[in-house]
């Protein structure tokens, strides 16, 4: 099976490839307040469908589904450089927050994505930027092992206002020693009811 068609299976969530049929749902998620820190996206469902259809095969764009196949969010691995062995996780959004209360959906989705990056694709580094005012995401990424590597001043125009972007990076050795144990701990916490 080609890696692009593959469903990445976890205990609580699965990652399945993003499809054009997801345009209406993902457009709704991206239009919600909690998506305010993502880059500006499509303005209509049709534009969202066009954007999905135009994704290059080198990108891995996923819908996060619960075990019962309910879609709850999205996440991607893009800008994969097979020579320098790096990639960029991003477009990370939990769209249905109520559905994931008490469920380690976000952490297991990231675990599956990092497994793809570091184990399947054999990358040695993932990196990306987070809006400086997105404190929840910065806290999350640093807890999971990412390190701050720089700050890009007034890099993002969000909601009509410029703000800095924080550059974060994670190396494969930190993934194995820090990220994976912490992810496993959070997932284990959801098992103990």
């Amino acid at each position: 099976m080609a890696i692009d068609d593959r469903v990445l299976r976890g205990e609580f969530v699965n990652l399945r490839p993003l499809r054009v049929a997801d345009a209406e749902l993902t457009f709704r998620w991206r239009s919600a307040d909690r998506a305010r820190f993502l880059n500006a996206g499509a303005r209509t469902v049709e534009e969202q469908a066009d954007w999905i259809a135009a994704r290059p095969v080198a990108e891995h764009n996923f819908i996060i589904e619960l075990a019962d196949a309910r879609p709850v969010g999205m996440v991607s691995l893009t800008d994969i450089d097979r020579v320098d062995r790096r990639g960029e996780p991003g477009r990370f959004l939990i769209g249905d927050e109520v559905a994931v209360h008490g469920v380690p959906a976000a952490v297991e989705a990231m675990k599956l994505l990092y497994r793809l990056a570091f184990d399947d694709l054999d990358l040695v580094r993932v990196c990306g930027t987070v809006a400086a005012e997105n404190k929840l995401m910065l806290k999350w990424q640093k807890f999971l092992g990412m390190r701050e590597e720089g700050r890009l001043r007034d890099h993002l125009l969000l909601d009509g206002r410029f703000q800095d972007a924080v550059l974060l990076g994670l190396l494969v050795e930190d993934y194995r020693t820090t990220t994976l144990p912490r992810m496993n701990a959070l997932i284990a916490a959801a098992r103990s009811r």
């Binding site: 909690r34 994931v100 976000a106 806290k139 999350w140 807890f143 959070l186 959801a190 103990s192």
Partner: protein, 113 residues
Amino acid sequence: MTYSPEELPMLDHRLDHDAVQGMVLHALETLNDERGADDELVVGPRTRLFGADAELDSLALVSVIVDVEEAVSAASGRTISLTDDRAMSQETSPYTDVESLTAYVVELLSEPA
């Protein structure tokens, strides 16, 4: 009662139950500051955190863990980990609710550094 990091009570580097509970509640209120009005939690000693009937997703839980670890360190000078093997092996998950997390932190702080 909640405590911001600047007003954390210190008891000879030993934090009592109320002080730790204040830190947990403050972490939840900080979380509310970072969420939209529609997503705000009802914060109180009985707020359920993670697991069945819980209020938090894993992203929000991490925010609470990080803030509580930092607040405890600032107030007591002790470094604690709320996600190590010991935390995971507790009979009752420390993340069940505000009280269980408070009790677990107090237990850690009651031990010799």
